[in-house]
Amino acid sequence: MQGIGDALGGALRLIASGDPVLGGIVLLSLAVSLSAVVLATLLGLPLGAALAVGRFPGRHAVIVLLNALMGLPPVVVGLFVYLLLSRAGPLGELGLLFTPPAMVIAQTILILPIIAALCRQAVEDAWAEYEEQLRSLGASGFNAALTLVWDIRFSLLTAVLAGLGRASAEVGAVMIVGGNIDGVTRVMTTTIALETSKGDLPLALSLGIVLILLVIAINATAAVIQDAAQRRYG
């Protein structure tokens, strides 16, 4: 118990110190995970919406598969992307391995199923309510789905936050495709892993608390926005 208290104190000291190296690591973590969230949202919302309103043979199997992919192990995704981006791999020419864009790609793949699957469920639930009216007005399948997505956007925020949580918490994917290079691809989670493996557990724990505080702050901001919007749009 005392360890946690010390770690909490350590975390606050780290934040207050304004250490530029830590600052750089935090900014990179945010940039990578937020970029992945934006990309996964741009791809995942239309995908989920289309799956919600579309009717085609094998639809049920696709939904089951998408739900299952929410549990993709980060280290497996990292390995897969590594093999793609390695010089020995098909996309080696791009020279993306061990760079932040590679980390963004890996995290986007990791969280895309989460956002798409949760969106699919939310849109399907709302579709039951909206379908007849939208069809009566002449909205066609996919257009109607996109209108729905925009209409339930504040509920979808939860799906997006789930993706952000997964991305900022994972270490397996970014470690493999980023290489945890000092000053280049070192993020919060890989730093925590490194300090743990060096035996500096107090520092690792403090960094962990900083990371958690960061994610809490982001979620709190999202909740405030959601509340305000709820009151405004009903």
Binding site: V32, R87, F98, D182, K198
Partner: protein, 268 residues
């Protein structure tokens, strides 16, 4: 929304800014990185040449595989037989000695196998096995792992056959393996550098050291541009030339932890 797009752009810019800078990718080992050597060494090289050295730290086996795939420009590891094979397969250009450090046998202060103070690594290993005392192995094809396996073999023990529940094969880097050993109060072979900077020592201490067999030689190689045209030959060679020259060698010697020198330069 604008904030998010801004952050995305910032990330892309940061990414491309790094792409503009001259840099090489060096595959090295976790024990070398965790000793803190690179943080001491690389800024000196960077200041002199403007070339950024990006170190990806893995086990020796993985580091050499990275070289085989062409994902690194230079490999800097410490397992001679593996390095020779790498060279023979045509993936490396030339192998050069850089420095050495030593391994130490770490164990619980209570020392159930009674190895403390011994000067013979083989004898110590035999005693650990006889006592069936818990022993943590890295098991990750690293230089340290291979050194450990060589000692078992030299001690006349077929560890693959002879291992029992006392032998814990973890498949981890040096730091995590040490954490595991502390947790299990077990014996473990570690490089001195990682141990000196390791902060979670628990009840463990250095019990056996100084045997010549615990010698750990580091070698450096340029990945062969003939096999991988993307290798940054000139920049990579510049790093190799610097590290084996007096300037690099002195920088290695000047790295100390708690006043103790970790690595001993021995380039020709």
């Amino acid at each position: 929304m604008g904030v998010i797009v801004g952050i995305l752009l910032a990330c892309v810019l940061v990414g491309s800014a790094h792409a503009q800078q001259r840099y090489i990718t060096v595959a090295s080992t976790t024990s070398t990185e965790q000793s803190g050597l690179f943080k001491h060494l690389l800024p000196q090289f960077e200041k002199k040449t403007g070339i950024q050295v990006r170190v990806v730290a893995l086990g020796t086996g993985q580091a050499l595989d990275m070289g085989r795939r062409g994902d690194a420009d230079v490999v800097f590891v410490h397992a001679r037989p593996l390095e020779e094979r790498f060279l023979a397969e045509g993936f490396g250009v030339k192998r050069q000695d850089v420095m050495y450090n030593d391994f130490v046998l770490i164990g619980p202060k209570s020392d159930p196998a009674k190895v403390r103070g011994g000067k013979d690594a083989l004898e110590a290993f035999r005693k650990v096995r006889s006592a069936r005392a818990p022993f943590v192995s890295r098991g990750d094809r690293s230089g340290t792992h291979f050194a450990e396996l060589e000692i078992w073999q030299a001690a006349g023990i077929d560890i693959a056959k002879d291992k029992g529940p006392w032998y814990r094969d973890t498949g981890q880097g040096m730091g995590p393996a040490l954490n595991t050993a502390v947790g299990m109060n077990a014996y473990i072979l570690s490089d001195r550098g990682t141990w000196l900077s390791f902060k979670n020592r628990g009840d463990l201490a250095v019990l056996v050291e100084g045997d010549k067999r615990l010698f750990n030689q580091y070698g450096i190689m340029l990945v062969n541009p003939a096999k991988h045209p993307n290798v940054k030959q000139a920049l990579g060679q510049a790093f190799i030339d610097w590290i084996v020259a007096p300037e690099g060698q002195n920088a290695i010697a000047s790295y100390k932890v708690n006043g103790e020198q970790l690595f001993f330069p021995n380039a020709e």
